[in-house]
């Protein structure tokens, strides 16, 4: 680990100021990702601004603005507390399931919601500093493109980066049209629709998302919806716990009579950002909730996928996972 300065503050403004004053400073939340990366010499901040003492942990109803009637979760809420909060369990069991499908109990107890959004890829070439990686060192090449890319993207990748975003929670959040509330050092706040928060790699893979330096995720709002009794988070992985997704699917359905009024489908483990399956959703609207329709929707989505050398299986697996997640959602899949 390189020597760094540690600062701590209890207010958002001071924290964002500290960051603005130092382009090499970073926020420290639960530390489950950034500290690992510093030990590996991948992240090299020369200052960490500890934000765990900020009062940004609450889960509460949204009382004003466009998401009024929805729920807001704090940027510094712990993943575990968020998952188990009664407001989340009742209204958005999809989020509960997704969070609990990630990492391990110990890590979730430390990890924060803001940290979860901003965690970095698990691409092994990113982690190994002697390897080429455009995300870590722009211009050095992408080790994974022609390398071992079984875990990598099938949607939206570029020649410069084929990494995937590792989060489970974010897959549920993008499916539910969440909104990320951020505050900058000038005190100004802005709202970023979840689908626009993370980025595709293009030729700037070093940028995971659209947060500017010095901006902080203060909360995440989830608008009210009618998915609570028809949603399911399915995570397919190499072992049943404590492994990142090969493919995951967040599925939510709202019915009107025997027709699907609207369906939400999002995928993890397939792209540089949590991937909203708009093609599948579009197809399902107004259709009956049959396996044939689920399969057709899944195939339409996966048709756009471009696999790499070692991840061709993600096409078939992704298709099946969408069908299974939708089927389970229809059966009222409950939170774990």
């Amino acid at each position: 680990m390189r020597p760094f300065k540690y600062s701590s503050t209890t207010n958002v403004k001071a924290a964002t100021h500290l960051l603005m004053a130092n382009p090499r400073a970073k926020f420290l939340a639960g530390g489950t990702n950034i500290l690992d990366l510093m030990k590996e010499d991948v992240e090299r901040p020369d200052e960490l601004v500890d934000i765990t003492r900020l009062a940004l942990a609450l889960v509460k109803p949204v009382t004003e603005g466009v998401n009024k009637g929805g729920i807001s979760i704090g940027g510094l809420g712990k993943n575990t507390e968020t998952a188990n909060h009664p407001l989340i369990r009742q209204n958005f069991p999809l989020i509960t399931q997704a969070i609990l499908a990630g990492a391990s109990a110990q890590i979730r107890n430390m990890a924060t919601n803001g940290g979860n959004l901003n965690q970095r890829t698990r691409c092994p070439y990113f982690y190994e500093v002697s390897m080429p990686c455009n995300k870590r060192e722009p211009g050095s090449g992408c080790g994974a493109l022609q390398g071992i890319n079984r875990m990598h993207a099938v949607f939206g990748w570029s020649e410069s980066c084929v990494a995937v975003h590792p989060s489970d929670m974010c897959v549920a959040l993008v499916a539910l049209d969440a909104v990320v509330k951020v505050q900058g050092s000038n005190g100004q706040t802005r709202s970023i629709p979840f689908a626009d928060y993370h980025r595709l790699p293009g030729d700037t893979p070093q940028k995971d998302n659209n947060l500017a330096h010095g901006e902080m995720v203060t909360s995440i709002e989830i608008p009210k919806n009618n998915f609570a009794n028809k949603s399911y988070y399915l995570k397919v992985r190499d072992r049943a716990s404590y492994a990142f997704a090969l493919v995951s699917v967040a599925a939510a359905i709202e019915m009107s009579g025997n027709q699907i009024k609207q369906a939400r489908v999002a995928m993890g483990g397939v792209a540089h950002k949590p991937w909203r399956a708009y093609e599948a959703e579009k197809f399902l609207a107004g259709k009956e909730a049959t396996e044939t329709n689920f399969r057709q929707a899944a195939e339409m989505e996966m048709k756009q996928a471009k696999p790499l050398e070692h991840n061709k299986y993600k096409i078939e697996l992704g298709t099946r996972a969408i069908v299974l997640a939708l089927t389970k959602a229809m059966n009222g899949g409950k939170a774990g």
């Binding site: 390189r2 070439y125 190994e128 002697s130 397919v236 190499d238 072992r239 404590y242 492994a243 996972a321």
Partner: protein
């Protein structure tokens, strides 16, 4: 199995359990010595070639740094001194990615690690050989491993009506004990003490001394507790000696602990095995031919072959057989002994093939095995000292509910899950190796106590406990009156905790020493005894306050005229998600015949541990190399997957009641290795029974079952 009033055979708790759960047990890095400095190793970032320059000035100037040692300034060491795998900083040559190329010693671990990042290395790169698939055809006959041929396999195979020919592949695996390889070195004049997890205490001592070029007695190894090794702490690796030279360089105690990431290319691995099996049988299920041909890789400058054909040599009666090995040197760290060496990987191939042929014959795989049970060891014609395969299969089948298994796959479905049953057998040789032990008795009033001393090691398996139990019975003293001192090279020399020889070697030595001390006490006494008195009684009746003796134990003289093995049968019930390909081992049962079970509780834990690793071998574990550069892309325990609790339902163990005193007096056969043998085969066979898919390359990850 257990006799009343005897400790052997009782499921007592570990004698060191309290020390372990309270954190009072000292592992290598727990030895806190005044003024300790910290060393961190740095490694090559190419797999082949040589270092042309290594720039250390900036690192040397970094805060806290005391020394930087590379091949340029390292003292001369004897590279043939018994340290496995080289990497002793003696030359600029690089033979694998992640070879040690130097170390930094600093006041703190963090300072040392930071300084390693300031070192600049220039290389002259050579074309690395790291892609096994590409280089496999270059594999040649290894020295000392001639083809074992019986009869005429080719003709028998050609003429057979029922046969299968298939290739089974197992990936590179790593041992990954919880305690990474760590050493604390302290010099006192010409003598060095090395606190270091060593499965073979005397082996570590000899290797360190000879590599450092000093007399054996000048090296002391201290290793009372070890956080697992699984073979990776059997041989000793460069970290042991590099810590010693670092301590000498800075003239202070030095502590060095490998990081988890460094474990991938520092302390050996289980290599990738490509196993071709040809197996043939008559219509009524008599085997006629078995060929087991393994090709694999080894280090550039050191040959090592995992004996994958060992189970094929002894498991079945078959008139025509061929066991062969071919090996190609590659730019990958040297492979080494890894739990159930050869048997765990080899039995996957053999027992899958048996299952495949049974299916072709439409025969129950247990019946098929029973039909081919050998009356004596087919590899050398020696009689078995005992063999429990039949009992293991039959008792296991009953306990597991094997009769519920359908012979055709995909016949058992519940919701989205396909359910299947599988069976596979395993074996591991039983041996006793030379070990010595000292017993010291002391008495205060009627309170007699014993101390047992020998340079044994406890990997966490329960060695301390079974030694105490053995001494308890042999001396007539309660277990809590016995102190066990092991893990120190100043104690009488002993075998290692390797190859399942530990329990037999240690406990027979301890038993001999206790019998000897009793005999000596009897002859000291003027009394006549009609019932043999215990040493404890004699201490009182002879009014002695102190008495001691030493025994040097060996295997019985005629042990070598027999073939002695532990045997097992493994039963797996898997639930395969028909949509996602995820597999859960819902139930697992291992039935083991391993002679005398000294402590059913620690024995059960040993077997369960082996089973879990075997399930990992079947389903999750794989170290993946980038074929261009030779680095492992699975580089932490987040990427190298061992099974989690959720992957496995229940594991049951049954021990066959077996008395066999041919291999050693106590009749102990050893359980450490056999627990993993046959496990992967049972799981793979169950997956076939569930899904109809035969996966022949491990691990069976979800993508392979779509």
């Amino acid at each position: 199995m257990s006799e009343p009033n005897k400790s052997i055979g009782q499921a007592i708790n570990r004698v060191d359990g309290l020390l372990k759960v309270t954190g009072a047990a000292s592992y290598a890095t727990d030895y806190v010595l005044k003024n300790t400095a910290h060393a961190v190793i740095f490694k090559s970032t190419i797999a082949a070639g040589k270092i042309t320059d290594i720039e250390t000035t900036e690192a040397e100037k970094a805060p806290g740094v005391l020394a930087v040692i590379t091949h340029k300034n390292a003292p001369k060491l004897n590279e043939k001194g018994g340290i496995r795998g080289g990497a002793l900083l003696q030359s600029p040559t690089i033979e694998w990615y992640g070879q040690h190329i130097g170390l930094v010693v600093a006041e703190t671990f963090e300072q040392a690690r930071y300084a390693t990042r300031l070192i600049k290395v220039s290389y002259e790169k050579a074309e690395p050989k790291v892609d096994f698939t590409k280089h496999q055809k270059e594999a040649v006959l290894p020295k000392g491993n001639p083809d074992a041929v019986r009869g005429d396999v080719d003709t028998a195979f050609r003429n057979a009506e029922f046969k299968i020919e298939a290739i089974y592949e197992t990936p590179i695996e790593h041992h990954h004990p919880m305690e990474t390889h760590s050493t604390v070195a302290v010099w006192e004049g010409e003598k060095v003490t090395l606190y270091n997890g060593s499965q073979i205490v005397n082996g570590a001592q000899a290797a360190a001394a000879s590599t450092l070029g000093i007399e054996t007695e000048k090296v002391r190894i201290v290793t009372p507790f070890i956080g697992g090794g699984f073979g990776s702490k059997g041989g000793q690796w460069a970290n042991l000696v590099l810590t010693a030279i670092a301590a000498r360089a800075v003239n202070r105690p030095v502590k060095l602990a490998l990081t988890r990431q460094q474990m991938f290319n520092s302390v050996g691995l289980r290599q990738k095995n490509h196993q071709k099996i040809r197996l043939a049988a008559t219509k009524d299920g008599k085997l006629t031919a078995l060929a087991h041909e393994t090709s694999t890789h080894c280090a550039m400058s050191n040959e090592f072959v995992e004996p994958c054909g060992d189970c094929s040599k002894v498991m079945y009666e078959v008139p025509n057989s061929l066991i062969s090995y071919r090996v190609v040197p590659m730019n990958i760290i040297i492979p080494t002994y890894t739990r159930g060496p050869g048997k765990s990987t080899g039995s996957f191939a053999l027992e899958s093939a048996i299952d495949e042929l049974a299916y072709q014959l439409k025969m129950d795989p247990i019946q098929f095995r029973l039909k081919n049970e050998p009356a004596k060891d087919p590899s050398n014609g020696k009689p078995w000292s005992s063999r429990t395969t039949v009992q293991c299969l039959q008792e296991g089948a009953k306990a597991f509910g094997w009769e519920k298994r359908k012979i055709e796959p995909r016949q058992n479905q519940q919701g989205e899950y396909l359910i299947g049953y599988g069976v596979a057998c395993g074996t591991y040789p039983a041996r006793q190796q030379n070990s010595s032990a000292i017993v010291r008795l002391t008495r205060k009033g009627n309170d007699v106590k014993a101390t047992i001393e020998l340079a044994a090691s406890d990997l966490g398996t329960g060695t301390n406990t079974i030694i105490a139990q053995t001494a308890s019975d042999a001396l007539g003293l309660a277990v809590n009156k016995i102190t066990v001192k092991i893990g120190d090279s100043t104690l009488p020399p002993a075998a290692g905790s390797v190859g399942s020889v530990g329990a037999a070697s240690f406990c027979n030595a301890v038993n001999d020493a206790c019998e000897k001390i009793t005999n000596e006490l009897i002859s000291k006494s003027s009394k006549q005894f009609f019932v043999r008195p215990t040493a404890a009684h004699l201490m009182v009746s002879e009014n002695l306050t102190k008495f001691e003796t030493r025994a040097d134990a060996k295997a019985p003289a005629d042990a070598g005229s027999y073939s002695s093995h532990s045997f097992n049968a493994n039963f797996a019930e898997v639930w395969v998600n028909s949509q996602t390909g995820m597999v859960k081992v819902h139930r697992f049962l291992a039935v083991t015949g391993a002679g005398k079970i000294l402590n059913p509780k620690t024995a059960r834990s040993q077997i369960i541990g082996g089973n879990v690793w075997g399930i990992g071998m079947a389903l999750t574990e794989e170290s993946v190399l980038d074929p261009r550069w030779g680095n492992f892309v699975t580089r932490s325990l987040a990427d190298y997957h061992v099974p989690s609790n959720l992957d496995i339902g229940t594991i049951d163990t049954i021990f066959i009641d077996e008395k066999d005193t041919i291999p050693n007096k106590l009749g102990v056969k050893g359980i450490g290795e056999v627990g993993i043998v046959g496990v992967a085969g049972a799981v793979a066979n169950a997956i076939f029974n569930a899904t109809g898919k035969r996966v022949r390359d491990l691990p069976i990850t979800p993508d392979k079952l779509l």
